[in-house]
Structures are given as C-alpha cells and as structure tokens.
Amino acid sequence: MSNFVVSGTPHVRSKESIQSIMRDVIIALIPATAAGIYYFGVKAIILIAASIVSAVFFEWLYQKLLKKPVTISDLSAVVTGLLLAMNLPAAAPVWVAIVGSAFAIIFAKQLFGGLGQNFINPALAGRAFLLASYPTEMTTWPAPVGFSGADAVTIATPLSQMKTGAFPDASLMQLFLGQVGGCIGETCAAALIIGGLYLLWKHVISWKIPVIYIATVFVLTALIGRHGVRMPVYELFAGGLMLGAFFMATDYASSPVTPKGQVIFAVGCGVITTLIRIFGGYPEGVSYSILIMNVCVPLIERFTEPTIFGALPKVKEAK
C-alpha cells in the first residue's frame, strides 16, 4: 500500500530547461543568421549547415565512443555550431567549419566534462584555433553581394581599414545594417541587437555583461581614438562587438556567476578589445578579449562572492 513517491523538496519546478534556454538562443540568432545569408548568399547557408551538423555529430560521436549518455537533444551543440559559423568568413571552405566544430566540441567542451564544464567559450576556442591554423582562409573577406550571382570580390573589413589609418569605406548606416566585409554573423549590428533584446526579454541573459562591455569599448575608444580621430559609435557597430557582447561573452559556463564578477568580466572584455583594436597586431580583439577573460573567471568569482543575508560583521581575530 505504501507506493507513494518520496522525493526531496521542492515538489514544483519552473518550466525553464536547458533545452528551452538553448532554443531561445537559437531564436535570438535567427535575425543575424538571416542577415548573414542575405549578404553572403549560398556559401553562408552551406557553412552554417555544415558547422551545425558537424557540431552535433561530434558531440554525438564523442558521447557514443565514451559510452556517455547522449545529450544532443539539449540543443547546446546546435548553438555552438551556429555561433562558430557566425564567426567564419563566408569564403571559408566547408572543411574549415568541420574542423572548427570538432575542436570546439571535443577539445573545448567535452574533454573538460561537457555542457557547463567548459572554461572557455567553445565556439570562440574553435575560431581561435582556426585563425591560428588557417590564417588565409580565416581572413579572406568576400563582399556582401548576397544571391546576386556575381563572383564576390575580396574586400577589407572596416576595422582593418581603420587599423592602417585609412578612413573606412562603409558609412555608419551601412555598417549598422551589415553591408560590409566580415564574418557571416557579425556584420549586421541591427539584427544582433534585436536578438540580444530578445534574450534580455526572455531573462536568458542579464544586461550587465553586454551593456557594460559595449559601454567600456565606447568610453575607451572615445577617450583614446585612432590617429587622432575619435569614432566611438562607429567602433561599436564594427567588427564582432555586438555578436561578442550579446552571444559570446554571456556564455554561462565561461562567464562569472556573481553579479560583481560580471561587471569586472565585462569591463575586462571591453578594455582588452579596445587595446587589441587600437594597439594590437590584429584589427579585431573581441574573440581574444573574451577568451582571455574566460580564463580569469575562477579568480574573479573567488573575490566577488556575494554578501549573504544577515552576514556577521567581519571581526579581526583577537591576538
């Protein structure tokens, strides 16, 4: 007769799940994905598809080989694959996407224990690996000619033009809408902001990291400037800042959990991004700034643990 379920409290749970969060991230990336396809055409579709399929495949393969429960239904591998594709130039060969996905899933994520255990953002780790290994493929930027059928010419990104001290060709509006050279998913700031607002509205991310990150870049570029010219607004919409701030720096596993820690993390990302852009060897610093701050997270969290309710005043030990 005693066949009632016994379990620990609480007995009611919120509806939110890992899957629903990942689904929201994918939904939030739809505008930017659509913009990438609009600007870069069939090649973008192929790269995005290859990246997602291979990310899911490698997660499945790893878990099968190691006889672990297969968790591809949580959609996290789809998000990693999609984010990696967003960080590829449309001219990159398909095998680059596949190699990048393999590195992201196997080395950055699964070897450290899988979902939630990666200490750096897997998609960015994949991108950094590709950039170091195949610099030509990773920095050949086709012009945003979309489905026009014209053979895309290679152009320079606004940030690389600015690096050389030249004034960028694209107007601020063109930059905001994404009519510039760059990675598939990073060029259209407007679409990324819409996606970011969706994530904020759904409480998937908090405002702290994206807003403070972007604000730091704005303030620093306004203060420092380049070659005597200060274009902080232009800097915000150029390169991968919007993608990085809303979708990469907010990765749960590799960003701080503590509220104060998130502030420090975001400021750090902003400072490093600006330093690399203006003084570094690369034209863009979003990826590396986030990766560098990722590895600081345990340290940041250690020093920013929140004060508990009813905390006792700190007493110095009597000697």
Partner: protein, 465 residues
C-alpha cells in the same frame, strides 16, 4: 499602502484556487477510530506520558509533558481509552513514541475546560503560563514553543510583533480562510501578545494575492492604534521569518541569531488564534486547520481537524482520493518545503498545515542534468548564497568548503531547485550536507565540553592532593 518585500526569491504558480473559496469545515474523528499523540510535536525536549495504557482520558486533558522550559505539553483531543503507547510515524518521517487513544465518540470534556479569562486583568506571567499550559507552539511549521518566543532575554527589547500571514507556500489556504472567517479573534490574539510587550507595534503581513484577507483584517483592526495591516509582494519565501522581518522592518537577522535579536517576534496566524483560544476561551491546543489539496483529492478544501487524527482518517472523512486520477505523491505541508509521505498512516501533529495529493502529472520529477552555471540559483537565493557551489561541495563531500561558503545559513526554501533549468536537486543536497555538518559541529562542541569538564576535574583533583 505600498507592498513591501525582500531581495531575490521566486514566483511559483500558487495553486490556491483549488481550495481558497472552500470555507473551513469541521471534521470530527469517527467513533472507535484511533488517535495518535506523538511525544514530540515541537522544538525542544520531548514530553513524557502522564497516562498509562488502560486509562480513560477526556477532551482537554493534559496527557504528556516535560519538565523542561523549552517544551510544550500535549492534550487529548477526544475522550476515550488509552490503548497503547508505541512509536508512530509523524509527517517529518520519524517514528516517535505516541499515546494511542481509542475515541469513544462521546467528546466528554475534562472539568475546568472553557474557563475563559479577561487578558487585561492578567499579569504577564499569568499570560505566559496560560499559553505554555495550553501547549501552544508555532503552527506555521517549525513548532517553536510560543511561551519561549514571547519571553525573550531582557537585553533584547521587542518593538515589533509580526503576524506572519504571508502564506507564501503554494496551495495552502488555511491561514487565508482563518483571516476571512475569524479576523477579530486573530486581532485579539495579537493584542494579548502586545500586552506582553507594550512598547511594540503589531503588524499583520499579508501577500497581495489575498486582497480579501487584507480587507478583512484591515476592517478588524479599525480603531486599534498599535496594529496595522501591511501588504507584501507575492513572492516566495515571503513567509520565511527572516525575510518577513526584513520586508517590514528592513532589519537583517544576523547569521545564527534569533528574530528577537532584531527586536521582532513573529507568529503565524493560527498560532495567534491558539493564543486567543488559550486565554479567552480557556481551551488548549487540540485542533488545527489543514488544507487538503492537489488534483488527486475529490474534495479539496480547508478542514478543522482534531490533532492526533491520522491523515488516512482525514482523507476518508472528506471523500477520499479521485478514483480515475489517484495521487502518486503525498506532501505534508506546501510543495516548496513540505516533506513527502510514503503512507497515509501518519499522525497529524500540531504543525501539520497541509496535505497535498499530487497526481502523476503534478508529481513529475525531471531528469537532473549538468549545471550550466547560468547563475539563476544565485540570482534567486533569498539568503544570498551560491547554491550551485554548495551543491558541488555536497557532491564532493567537502564539508569544510560547504561551511566556509555559508552552507549552514541555507533556509532550505527550495528557490534554487525551483529555478534551476538543469533541474538539479540543489536544495536536497544542501539539506543533507547541512545535517551532516550541523551534526559534526554539535559533536565537536560536546567533545570540547567533555574535555573542559575532564580538565577541570583533573585540576580539582590535583589541587586536592
């Protein structure tokens, strides 16, 4: 008036509509049914039986007590014969020595019952003694002896007496019904408490999802200067003692301290009513209101039962479970903090506020996944802890890390587990480790005490020689 609240917390669906409009219905135990009176229904020293097998007891008769100050006597709630004294299961899951009384159905009352008194003519000591002698304990769930709570150390003056009418646990509506049906008596109970602490003001804190209760209590308080009704934001765990105090007074009860240290006494609605009944009606604590709810019960509602009835007798008396969708999980109390029961053969005790009968759909337990470090547990923990980290310490068995990160301050409200998208059993693991670490702490303290005593003895011996 602006609704007040605390920081963080969660918003579970409240489920109160099932029983909120059901008036309190009196359920009397059936003739020849057995009632169980566990010797420990409160925090403090367990009672010892005052009766033996074969004795005849009457309604209102004290059948068990303890000499300790931190304890509370137990009263027979029916008349009949003591048929056994044996261990019986209580809602918390323990087997507790219990007096078993077979109800003769006559409800014969003991002499001297119903000697109501006018509290304004009583001294404070008389009031406290009367409350103690009526077996009143905190009926919100903890069972802290009320006479102890009302008599804090002299160096902690009380300036607020709060009635905890938040009833933040989903599904439970027993306090809500009392506020609609007996508001004047609740106010009278609060006035008795205020007589003990004349410098204090009385505040009745009610969540905004109970507008009718706010209206009813406000009306009952009209013309009384030192009592106000304070609306509170509907948020769990608003009824946590520490968080209610914070919401109303903005004071934080320090880690490990009692509410009195913040100048507050907090008592639940039904407790205040028990005080009123003890003084003005001269009746000890023998009944309580229980909300029976959930999709698995035929007639969800609020029932006034005799303490000691088994939950099986209660369920049978109100029409039983639904046949087509029977419950698979039984919860004593609310769904956020109430323990589960594996059987209905459990004695109702002073602190039994609810019985939830959850069907298969309601009792669904999602699969636990990896922590994704989303930080939602940190964002919602009302104590400002880092539950995901405490969970990791618990799994590793790292008691030191657990204590260093304030694991012992957890109030076990379950907000972390509620929010967790990975569906981790955060609260459960933290509760388990808390028990282990609290046990270690107590053992260490006992060892230190024993050592000190031994040393003192050795020293005395040495001096003697």
């Amino acid at each position: 008036m602006q609704a007040l609240t605390f920081k963080r917390g969660v918003h579970p669906p409240d489920g109160k509509a099932l029983s909120a409009e059901q008036p309190i219905k009196v359920i009397l135990p059936k003739e020849d049914s057995e009632l169980f009176y566990p010797m420990s229904q409160h925090i403090g020293a367990p009672c010892e039986p005052l009766v033996a097998v074969g004795d005849h007891v009457k309604v209102g008769q004290k059948i068990a007590e303890s000499g300790a100050f931190m304890s509370s006597p137990i009263f027979a709630s029916v008349s009949g014969e003591v048929v056994d004294i044996r261990p019986m299961l209580v809602p918390g899951g323990a087997m507790v020595k219990s007096i078993v009384v077979k109800n003769d159905g006559k409800m014969e009352e003991i002499e001297g019952l119903n000697q109501g008194r006018d509290y304004t003519t009583m001294t404070n000591d008389e009031i406290l003694t009367a409350i103690k002698e009526a077996g009143v304990v905190g009926l919100g769930g903890a069972g802290f002896p009320t006479h102890v709570k009302l008599d804090p150390p002299k160096d902690t003056p009380i300036d607020h007496i709060l009635i905890n009418a938040a009833e933040c646990e989903p599904y439970l509506t027993c306090d809500y019904r009392l506020m609609l049906e007996e508001p004047e008596r609740i106010v009278k109970g609060l006035q008795i408490m205020l007589k003990l602490h004349p410098g204090a003001k009385g505040v009745i804190g009610i969540e905004m999802n109970k507008p009718k209760a706010i209206e009813s209590m406000t009306k009952a308080c009209e013309g009384i200067d030192n009592i106000t009704v304070q609306p509170l934001v509907t948020k769990f765990p608003q009824g946590s003692e520490k968080h209610l105090i914070y919401a109303i007074t903005k004071r934080e009860v320090k880690s490990g301290a009692l509410p009195a240290s913040a100048g507050c006494i907090v008592d639940n609605v039904d407790t205040v009513l028990a005080i009123e009944r003890a003084i003005c009606k001269g009746r000890p604590l023998m009944r309580r209101i229980v909300t029976v709810s959930g999709q698995g019960i035929k007639n969800p509602g609020n029932y006034k039962i005799r303490i000691g009835m088994t939950l099986r007798d209660l369920v049978d008396a109100i029409g039983g479970f639904k046949e087509d969708n029977p419950p698979v999980k039984l919860i004593a109390g609310g769904p956020m903090m109430g323990p589960t029961l594996y059987t209905l053969d459990v004695a109702s005790v002073k602190t039994t506020s609810g019985l939830l009968c959850f069907t298969k759909e309601e009792a669904y337990i999602p699969e636990e996944r990896n922590c994704i470090r989303c930080g939602k547990c940190v964002d919602h923990c009302p104590m400002g802890l880092m539950p995901f980290m405490l969970n990791a310490f618990s799994i590793k068995g790292d008691g030191e890390g657990f204590v260093a990160h304030h694991g012992l301050d957890c109030i076990e409200c379950g907000s972390c587990s509620y929010e967790c998208p990975a569906k981790r059993q955060l609260a459960q693991s933290i509760r388990a480790t808390k028990k282990i670490e609290a046990g270690k702490k107590a053992a260490a303290a006992a060892a230190a005490r024993a050592k000190a005593e031994a040393e003192a003895k050795a020293k005395a011996e040495a001096e003697k020689n």
